[in-house]
């Protein structure tokens, strides 16, 4: 589960922020997970407490993860749509050519601290 490795990087960044901000606790962390980042938001949330263990400033920190679904981009009309994989036509123009798209970002957006 590579999300543990990612949670460890996140914890490193959070500890540095807490130090820089002279914060005693980070109460809340907001994260954006792009659909092509290869990271599963739920798995990341699951791993985070393990990675944060032993750091008092990260005790009971709440993770707010925003994920967006993958979308299809029609190569003919350039519209985005989400669609069950069994129906291979664009709902707007009926074209057959489209591909999956989505951001690959994995961003620590903001923190809430005391």
């Amino acid at each position: 589960m590579h999300e543990l490795a990612i949670a460890l990087s996140l914890v490193d960044q959070l500890r540095r922020i807490a130090e820089r901000e002279h914060a005693t606790r980070i109460t809340c962390v907001r994260i954006r997970v792009g659909p092509t980042s290869g990271v599963d938001g739920e798995a990341l949330a699951f791993c985070f407490p393990m990675a944060a263990r032993e750091y008092p400033s990260l005790e009971a920190t709440q993770l707010q993860i925003t994920t967006e679904p993958l979308q299809w981009l029609c190569l003919t009309c350039h519209k985005l749509f989400s669609e069950p994989s069994s129906e291979p036509v664009c709902p707007y123009c009926g074209a057959l050519e489209h591909h999956l798209t989505g951001s690959d970002e994995l961003t620590l957006e903001s923190v809430e601290l005391t």
Partner: protein, 273 residues
């Protein structure tokens, strides 16, 4: 215990009574002691009460969580660029045929293109052993528990496996279709293998590695006649997920389709000068 976030010291922190959906966008770095952060009103089990307000403040960060991996990957990439080495990150499910493909590839490139190989494996050096004696320098990375290679691990072995004569580097990632996709290693090209026994709809079920692949190798084509594998459906699925990827079909066992792969490697090396 606080129901909102599950933490144990409900008295020592503050929640907004709204859902953190600030309509005021913080466009500056430090947004200290905003008035909104002092609501201590809090709803538990159907009743509302008030916590002594501990001020919390928001700090906007906007950091890439994998910044360290990306930075090391960029260093690897610059290094490989300086040595004019074409580096291929090979990703697939366990057993899709990465090592056999490399065995056959090294045999054909021997004495023609100076090649190096880094092999990531969970436990053993069996794959590295299979690749010995074929004219390439081979280095094993035992990842122990990690299901993927990362840029740091690659950077540690890189100096020992390439030299000024090296033109081509293969990095056989840990057999895992999902996890390695998140980690840039500094490669020039990402190649994903999909073997015929895995089924034709795999790109739709696990799209991310295929979206990020510049080339997909459909491997073990010799097995296709024994399977219900439908070639058209497989190629359709790949093209739907990523229409710009190059698809090659081959069997490392019989050699069918290997010429196009070798030709691709020769061209990639030639382009590096």
């Amino acid at each position: 215990m606080c129901e909102t976030c599950g933490c144990s010291d409900a008295l020592n922190h503050t929640h907004h009574d709204h859902d953190h959906d600030h309509d005021h966008d913080h466009d500056h770095d430090h947004d200290h002691d905003h008035e909104d952060h002092f609501h201590g009103t809090h709803t538990h089990d159907g009743h509302t009460h008030f916590h002594p307000p501990t001020p919390t403040r928001s700090v906007r960060v906007e950091n890439d969580i994998l910044a360290v991996n990306h930075a090391v990957a960029e260093t690897n990439r610059r290094w490989l660029e300086r040595y004019r080495i074409h580096a291929i990150n090979l990703i697939s499910s366990p057993g899709s045929g990465k090592t056999l493909l490399l065995e056959k590839t090294l045999k054909r490139l021997q004495n023609r293109i100076p090649t190096a190989v880094i092999v990531g494996d969970l436990q053993t050096d069996l794959d590295a052993q299979r690749l010995q004696g074929l004219g390439a320098r081979v280095k094993q990375i035992e990842t122990v528990n990690a299901c993927h290679l990362d840029a740091e691990r690659v950077s540690q072995v890189l100096p020992g496996v390439i030299d000024e004569t090296t033109r081509l580097l293969f990095i056989e990632n840990v057999g895992n279709l999902v996890c390695p996709a998140a980690f840039d290693l500094g490669e020039t090209e990402r190649v994903v293998l999909l073997s015929t026994p895995e089924g034709e709809d795999k790109p739709l079920k696990y799209p991310v590695p295929f979206i990020k692949a510049s080339m997909v190798l459909v491997t073990k084509t010799d097995l296709a006649p024994h399977l219900t594998w439908k070639r058209d459906a497989c190629l359709d699925a790949l093209k739907r997920v990523n229409p710009s990827t190059t698809i090659l079909e081959l069997s490392a066992l019989t050699g069918e389709g290997m010429d196009a792969w070798i030709h691709h490697l020769e061209q990639a090396v030639r382009l590096k000068g």
